[in-house]
């Protein structure tokens, strides 16, 4: 029961912040959860997920044919 309550609070806090998951304020929240190991796992996991997506969603090069089609559709050279 206690754990669910803390997890709910954690979600509420992070939702209120809408902060970068590794922001100072989120780090503070994480430190304050030392009595709830599962909350720390939860928080760390979210941070890991955001970080891996930041790396995996890298900039994609525009293919040459896409550029050609674009200029053609806009009647530009």
């Amino acid at each position: 029961m206690q754990h669910k309550h803390t997890l709910k609070e954690l979600q509420l806090i992070c939702q209120q912040f809408g902060e970068d998951i590794d922001s100072e304020i989120c780090e503070e929240v994480k430190k304050s959860l030392k009595d709830c190991p599962e909350c720390r796992v939860h928080f760390d996991s979210i941070k890991k997920v955001v970080n891996i997506y930041k790396v995996s969603e890298n900039e994609m090069d525009i293919p040459e044919d896409v550029t050609k089609n674009l200029f053609r559709s806009l009647n530009l050279k």
């Binding site: 939702q15 809408g18 796992v41 760390d44 979210i46 890991k48 930041k54 550029t67």
Partner: protein, 196 residues
């Protein structure tokens, strides 16, 4: 990214083809990349790209310079992607996602994910899983996650681009993060079960 100077923008507003081409050449790679993140397939991303620049051609004469030209295009591209996603997945836009149910995830035990680095992405299974999870994510949540967590816009900027309240951006962001986390946890649990 190169910045287009004011004189080029002024010429483009008069319909000067060289200036318009310079703008398209400069900004199309970034707009394409952004569109691909939203749409998750090359065909739809190309449609968003073309529509964005067509809208630019039709309305650049009204561009007042209250933001940078790139911010203006970025907003057009985001809203064009949103329109397309709404048409393609109307059922996803009917779901109420702006209130929080704290019991939604309460029965679920968190699973300790490994630390990732760039090398982990050489594992094509993981790459496929990440792509599949973000594809499955409700489009309304995906757009917020990409603008906020991937593109690095602030909550305020994200809210402004999407014409949402900041509170709704935060709720959608939390839901998106939870969804992606749970998908990745399931992937690692299954991997561990197979290995055992």
């Amino acid at each position: 990214m190169k910045v287009i100077d004011e004189s080029t923008i002024e010429l483009a507003k008069t319909g000067d083809n060289n200036s318009l081409s310079e703008i398209v050449n400069t900004y199309s790679p970034n707009i394409y990349s952004l569109s691909l993140k939203f749409m998750r397939n090359k065909h739809d991303a190309e449609d968003v790209l073309q529509e964005t620049f067509l809208k630019m051609l039709n309305s650049i004469s009204k561009f007042e310079g209250r933001s940078t030209l790139y911010s203006w295009l970025y907003r057009i591209a985001t809203n064009t992607a949103l329109e397309k996603l709404r048409k393609k997945y109307p059922e996803q836009f009917e779901i109420e996602l702006d209130t929080v149910d704290y019991h939604e995830h309460s029965g679920r035990k968190s699973f300790e994910l490994p630390y990732f680095d760039e090398k982990d992405l050489d594992n094509s299974d993981l790459k496929i899983e990440l792509n599949s999870a973000i594809k499955k994510l409700n489009a309304k949540l995906r757009i917020v996650f990409i603008l906020r967590d991937i593109e690095g816009n602030s909550v305020k900027e994200t809210a402004k681009i999407l014409n949402l309240s900041e509170a709704n951006v935060k709720i959608r962001l939390m839901r998106a993060r939870m969804f992606l986390k749970e998908n990745l946890e399931d992937y690692y649990k299954q991997r561990n079960d197979h290995a055992a």
